[in-house]
């Protein structure tokens, strides 16, 4: 160590009293530091304890009566809303996403999530090309949901086709089980 400008009369740096005081000072300070940050750290790490409610994936959501979907008509985008509890706030009817619905026969539908499997943008129907396209990075999907090349040959960045969703018909209404999947992966894994 350099000579301090205000050097006090020398207490022997290695006297037992000084050594003991130093150990105690370090110990108490360490304890104090830990105590001061422990609870705030626990609060900041709280999100790691939270997982999406599994019931959200299991719920059936109504998309509308069947006559809303003409057989072999153009695909329709239907916005899904649910009652949400967002931290401290309960909000009814919050839009949570949209699905792309196509009716191929009286009792046959294809229902895809409108979330692009590439990076999560919003996929829309492109009437001109008769396909689904994502405006962000030019992902391109056939009406079946499979990957399809862009008409101008631009690369299709999506690692997989659109995500199909489970559907059923109940009391003359089409219902879907809304699931969000992880994006950017070739495999279809439900998001936590």
């Amino acid at each position: 160590m350099d000579d301090a400008p205000h050097s006090p009369p020398p207490a022997d740096p290695d006297s037992p009293r000084r050594r003991m005081s130093r150990r105690l000072a370090l110990g108490v300070s360490g304890l104090l530091g830990l105590a001061a940050v422990a609870a705030p750290a626990a609060l900041l790490l709280d999100p790691l304890r939270r997982r999406a409610a599994p019931s959200a994936a299991a719920r059936w959501t109504g998309l509308g009566t069947l006559d809303r979907f003409p057989i072999d008509g153009p695909p329709q985008a239907v916005i899904l809303s649910e009652d949400q509890t967002d931290a401290w706030l309960s909000r009814p009817n919050v839009p949570v996403g949209h699905v792309l619905v196509r009716r191929t026969a009286a009792d046959a539908f294809t229902v895809h999530s409108g979330v692009c499997p590439h990076l999560g943008c919003s996929v829309a129907f492109d009437a001109a090309g008769s396909r689904f396209r994502c405006p962000c990075h030019r992902s391109s999907f056939a009406l079946s949901g499979d990957l399809t090349p862009n008409p101008d040959g631009a690369p299709n960045p999506s690692p997989r086709g659109l995500d199909p969703l489970e559907w059923r018909v109940r009391d003359g209404r089409l219902e879907v089980r809304w699931v969000r999947f992880q994006t950017g992966t070739p495999d279809r894994v439900p998001a936590a």
């Binding site: 400008p5 009369p9 000084r18 130093r22 105690l24 104090l32 105590a35 609060l43 401290w88 909000r91």
Partner: protein
């Protein structure tokens, strides 16, 4: 300092850093800073203040990650911190009592350095900095307790704003602090910005200056000590004084934790500008509050401006007034200083004992505690909506304000009362009702007495009937078999003598307009209850039976859709607080 340890990578790294920033000299200079006369517990208050401020900063950052400064969200977000986030109650509790610790430590620190004469040349500037910092600490308290937007913070701020407006030119200051003509969103955002940005930045800058001046001038030892002994017994700051500082900080922390665990930071009911409330500021402002009790009417300004202003002026003037040069403070500053601190303490005690003897205050306090508990319970049960309303509390308040409670309660005047609503729409209540419809809790005290026969079958059959009736509201049946059985009992048990079959459409074959029992289609669903509250005397509900001159359960055509919605949601949640 010679070092006999073998060179290590860590040491090499230390050397490299030291070459560039010279931290070792800085640390050594701070560590070896001499404590004249040796380390003492009398010197611990300054560093304890630093520790308390660091604690406020750390807990404050954590709280800020979960707090939302808007009139609709503030209370709910603080409630969320307090009751749902990991250790949120502890973090908020430390922050809450930490503010009191700051004030107490400020007073202790100021008193200690005052009596040791640390305001004397050349340390006047540091005394002045300290006085300004005391004001900043009070500013933290003032802006902080509004933030939860609960009754206490709201009303205390209302009073503070009125005091501000009452001072000369104060209405402009009030508008600036408040962000507009009323206490509202802009008040919260402005107080929040002041509390988490402006005040911390200012205080940190002043702390840097305060500590730098302290390092420059050194510690002021007790005036009683002999100069020769002071030099002879001098010790370096590290580790001797540091150890005492750390031990005291640990004691402060322990007291804070004890207060959080034993008392807890309160969160009162959400701010209600229309409600009555016994406004009291935080305890460390009670001496000002008490001054207002003493100086009323035209003298108010003496309590709000003159006396506090003179007190501040005196504190700032202390270094100029005492010309004694050394030793204990001169009587002309010591006496006013003791009077000032003692006076503030006496006023605080007076304020507290006045309140303790005031029946009206105690009752108001009890009501506020009940409201706080009710707000908490109902927020847990039904959440807070985007308007910032505790949904079930809004329903309960409508139940009380719209006069429902004047009939739907046991203690109404006269012998008759309407059915009690506690547990409404629950299976347990329905079960009790079917067993004894004429019980005083149900139809017993109403014109509907003896209109509905009790269900006398076995308990299991009644349970099946309850399950089926409950399923009519559209909830997913838990046991389809039970429901089938319930439906069979309904068909065979003579229920259709009075009730229309809920499977028959209105006007369909077998449907009777004049059925005396309520229409059970959608029984106790949202829509069904909504229609019932709107007009219970409608033919599809209690029709003729309620169609009396007495106006039993009147129709409510003027109830707004929003109010109706809140009432129905409250009823469907089991009407909490109805009894």
């Amino acid at each position: 300092m010679p070092d006999s340890r073998p060179p290590s990578r860590l040491r090499a790294l230390g050397d490299a850093v030291d070459l560039r920033i010279g931290h070792r000299a800085m640390i050594a200079s701070a560590a070896d800073h001499p404590v004249p006369g040796g380390a003492r517990f009398a010197y611990v208050f300054g560093s304890a203040l630093l520790f308390a401020f660091a604690l406020q900063a750390i807990t404050g950052v954590a709280l800020a990650t979960a707090y939302s400064p808007s009139v609709t969200d503030a209370w709910a977000s603080v409630h969320h911190i307090q009751h749902h986030l990991t250790l949120g109650w502890l973090v908020r509790g430390i922050h809450h009592f930490g503010s009191s610790a700051m004030v107490v430590l400020c007073v202790l620190h100021m008193t200690q350095v005052f009596f040791f004469g640390a305001y004397r040349p050349p340390r006047e500037a540091n005394w002045w900095l300290g006085v300004v910092m005391l004001l900043l600490v009070l500013g933290f308290g003032l802006t902080g307790y509004l933030l939860p937007w609960d009754q206490k913070g709201y009303w205390a701020t209302q009073v503070a704003m009125s005091i501000t407006a009452g001072t000369p030119g104060g209405e402009h200051l009030q508008a600036l602090l408040q962000g507009g003509p009323q206490t509202g969103n802009l008040t919260l955002t402005r107080f929040y910005a002041i509390h988490v940005l402006l005040l911390p930045a200012t205080l940190i800058a002043l702390i840097v200056g305060h500590v730098a001046l302290f390092r420059r001038h050194g510690l002021t030892p007790s005036p009683a000590a002999e100069p020769a002994t002071l030099t002879a017994k001098s010790e370096p700051f590290w580790p001797y004084q540091w150890l005492r500082d750390a031990v005291f900080a640990l004691i402060v922390f322990g007291i804070l934790i004890a207060l959080v665990v034993l008392v807890g930071a309160s969160l009162e009911a959400p701010a209600d500008p229309a409600g009555a409330y016994e406004a009291r500021p935080e305890w460390y402002f009670l001496f000002l509050f008490q001054l207002l009790r003493i100086f009323e009417g035209p003298l108010l300004i003496v309590g709000t401006v003159v006396i506090p202003g003179l007190a501040m002026l005196f504190l700032m003037a202390v270094p100029l007034l005492d010309k004694k040069g050394r030793g204990w403070p001169a009587a002309k500053v010591a006496v006013p200083f003791v009077l000032l601190i003692g006076g503030a303490a006496a006023l605080t005690v007076a304020a507290m004992s006045t309140d303790r003897a005031d029946q009206g205050f105690l009752e108001g306090r009890e009501a506020a505690d009940q409201a706080a508990a009710e707000a908490h319970t109902l927020a847990e049960a039904g959440g807070v909506d985007a308007s910032g309303r505790i949904v079930l509390q809004a329903g309960l308040h409508l139940f009380r304000e719209k006069g429902c409670v004047s009939c739907h309660a046991r203690e109404v005047e006269g012998d008759d009362h309407a059915p009690l609503l506690a547990g409404y729409a629950t299976e347990a209540r329905l079960d009790r009702f079917l067993k004894a419809p004429d019980h005083a809790d149900f139809f017993g005290k109403t014109p509907l007495r003896e209109q509905m026969d009790p269900f006398t079958g076995p308990d299991a059959d009644r349970a099946a009937l309850v399950a089926w009736l409950t399923s009519l509201s559209g909830v997913e049946p838990s046991s389809p078999d039970l429901i089938k059985r319930g439906l069979a009992i309904f068909d065979e048990g003579g229920c259709t003598d009075c009730h229309n079959d809920p499977r028959v459409d209105v006007g369909g074959e077998g449907w009777e307009l004049d059925a005396t029992g309520p229409d059970l289609r959608g029984f106790q669903s949202y829509e069904w209850v909504r229609a019932l509250v709107r007009n219970a005397g409608h033919p599809s509900f209690f029709g003729g039976a309620l169609d009396t001159e007495d106006g039993v359960m009147p129709a409510y055509p003027d109830l707004s859709a929003d109010s109706l919605d809140l009432l129905v949601r409250w009823l469907l949640a089991g009407a909490p607080g109805a009894d």
